[in-house]
């Protein structure tokens, strides 16, 4: 039997979904990470821009003060002194707040030199007020020559420090933007790599699965063709009605080796058997052909079912090398004139006889074939008019409901007892019941062979 690694039997949809989930997870996580980075950078940049605006506002306030001083120096107009005093009182608090805000951003961005420069600037501004503005307005007749030059020097120094702070903030803003861009690039390349990798793996896996499914489907088709070819057509038997049905498992891997046969040995004798090979697939289907024709050959020489099984067991052991293969088989020879049924069962416990609505299970008379050399006992069953032999495989007794409840022998017997007595209808009803029980997921093959006997002369098979 061909075996496949178990990991290949993992349901494709589940694996495919897992791949997609991983890919989607990466994509979503990456998108959120990028968004968080961009948001963080925007926040920092907006704080820097605000600091730049605050710095310009600081300069504007300072220039306004200086212009008042300059205007007073040039014109000696007292209105400049009034203007300066008003500006100073109104803007001193705003000036301090702006300085504090800029200092905070410089500290956050670790711009140490710029922070120091801002401190110098504020200190200078204070000195300018104390050493130039205040004495000038306090003593209007002061000689202004020196003050004018000092005022200019103040102005120059302030411009330089402001330019430096401005430049440091701009550089920091550029560095942030550059760093974010680099991070976005890195994230994009990394995500593209992982997406491509997982996508490729998913495609490869899907392709592999498709090929595997295709092979399995092909095997299933071959198996079913073989089974149909080796399954017996209904052979008309005198005083008998014969019905049969077959249900293939829904899984590719479960289609296998159920086989039955009705073979006429003489005018009044017929050999019937049903067997279930332990393996599945093409190999099991081929084995059913071996079983069918070997048993027929044996039946032509022997009429005792127990002897048939014993001889078959020997032939099976000599032919099939696989030690894990075995067969359960029920063989019977039906005398359609005497309504006598002699049978032997090699581990096949799914054989029943229905009498009216009473169903009895036929005994197992030996071990399954292919395991050990053991004799098989032959039993004799005397049939009455209307009795029906119902031979099935374990697809009936082991059928499970969607809740997992197994039908069992008792359930199978109940079903047989309650089914239509006409053999073909009985066989069809059993298959329909199993389908109804298991839904679309039939776990195992099911073969049904039903033979109803009648008193000689009481029934015309034709």
């Amino acid at each position: 039997m061909k075996s496949r690694p178990s990991f290949l039997r993992v349901p494709g949809a589940l694996v495919w979904t897992a791949f997609l989930a991983i890919v989607l997870g990466i994509a979503v996580q990456g998108a959120f990470a990028t968004r968080a980075n961009i948001a963080r950078t925007f926040d920092q940049q907006s704080r820097i821009v605000q600091a730049q605006l605050d710095l310009e506002e600081i300069l504007r306030l300072q220039i306004d003060e200086e212009n008042s001083v300059r205007g007073y120096v040039l014109t000696r107009d007292p209105s400049y002194a009034v203007s300066y005093a008003r500006q100073y009182s109104e803007t001193a608090q705003a000036f301090d707040e702006k300085v504090e805000a800029v200092a905070r951003v410089l500290a956050e961005q670790h711009l140490t030199a710029a922070s120091q420069t801002l401190e110098d600037y504020v200190s200078l501004q204070s000195n300018w007020r104390r050493k130039i503005a205040a004495p000038l307005f306090a003593s209007p007749h002061t000689d202004v020559g020196g003050l004018d030059k000092e005022n200019k020097a103040f102005s120059d120094y302030e411009n330089r420090t402001a330019a430096f702070i401005r430049s440091e903030l701009a550089k920091q803003s550029d560095a942030l933007a550059r760093s974010t861009q680099e991070q976005i690039n890195r994230d994009t390349y990394a995500r593209a790599f992982w997406l491509a990798l997982f996508g490729l793996l998913a495609i490869l896996f899907n392709g592999f699965r498709s090929r595997l499914s295709s092979e399995l489907e092909e095997e299933r088709t071959t198996t079913e063709i073989l089974q149909r070819a080796f399954r017996s057509e209904h052979v008309p038997l005198p005083n008998c009605e014969v019905g049969s049905a077959y249900l293939s498992a829904s899984s590719h891997l479960a289609v296998g080796g159920d086989v039955f046969d009705v073979y006429r040995l003489s005018d009044s004798l017929a050999m019937v058997f049903i067997a279930d090979v332990s393996g599945k697939g093409v190999d099991a289907a081929v084995l059913t052909a071996f079983i069918k024709f070997t048993i027929r050959g044996i039946a032509l020489r022997r009429r005792d079912p127990g002897s048939m099984l014993a001889e078959f067991n020997t032939a099976f052991a000599q032919t099939v090398e696989n030690p894990y293969l075995f067969v359960s088989m029920f063989v019977g020879v039906l005398d359609t004139q005497a309504l006598q049924f002699r049978y032997a069962s090699a581990g096949h416990d799914s054989a029943f006889v229905r009498r009216a609505h009473d169903v009895q299970q036929l005994q197992v008379t030996g071990p399954v074939l292919g395991v050990m050399e053991e004799p098989f006992e032959t039993k004799t069953l005397y049939l009455e008019d209307g009795d029906t032999l119902v031979l099935v495989t374990d697809g009936l007794t082991e059928a499970r409901s969607r809740k997992g409840e197994q039908l069992g022998e008792r359930g199978a017997m109940d079903l047989i007892g309650s089914s239509n007595p006409q053999p073909q209808k009985l066989a069809d009803e059993l298959v329909a019941q199993v389908k109804a029980l298991e839904g679309n997921h039939t776990r195992d093959d099911l073969a049904v062979l039903a033979i109803r006997v009648h008193e000689p002369g009481g029934f015309d098979a034709n």
């Binding site: 110098d120 000092e150 200019k152 120059d156 120094y157």
Partner: protein
């Protein structure tokens, strides 16, 4: 050797110490104009003091003020010489030129001195004498 010496002599006569990298050239007519915040311009008695002023701390700057004359914005002058990238201001990355000028108008007409390149606005070229 002689040719090289001759070229050097001609160059010195023609342009003095004006350098090719300078933003203005000798005999160019210019206006003095400082920054828009404070357009007055310091004219220094030495280009080295100009450099020290631009590169110094505030206290160093104040100490140099007796060597500078403050002129009003728009004062006309002629370029006498230029030393490219001579001045490195504190906190400013790019160096600036030191430009030797002669004031040509106003009460300070005829006075010579040095100004920083950023305080120069080019006006016209003065024809060579």
């Amino acid at each position: 050797m002689r040719i090289s010496a001759l070229i050097a002599l001609v160059w010195l006569l023609a342009g003095g110490i004006a350098l090719a990298d300078c933003r203005v050239h000798q005999n160019e007519l210019v206006l003095l104009y400082g920054t828009s915040d404070d357009p007055d311009v310091f004219v220094w008695d030495s280009r080295f003091r100009l450099r020290d002023y631009e590169g110094g701390t505030f206290d160093q700057m104040r100490a140099l003020l007796p060597h500078a004359t403050l002129v009003r914005p728009g004062t006309r002058a002629i370029v006498e010489s230029c030393v490219a990238n001579f001045v490195q201001s504190k906190y400013v990355a790019q160096p600036d030129d030191a430009i030797g000028i002669v004031i040509t108008a106003g009460p300070l007409r005829g006075e010579r001195g040095w100004v920083i390149g950023s305080a120069i606005r080019e006006l016209t070229k003065r024809p060579r004498q």
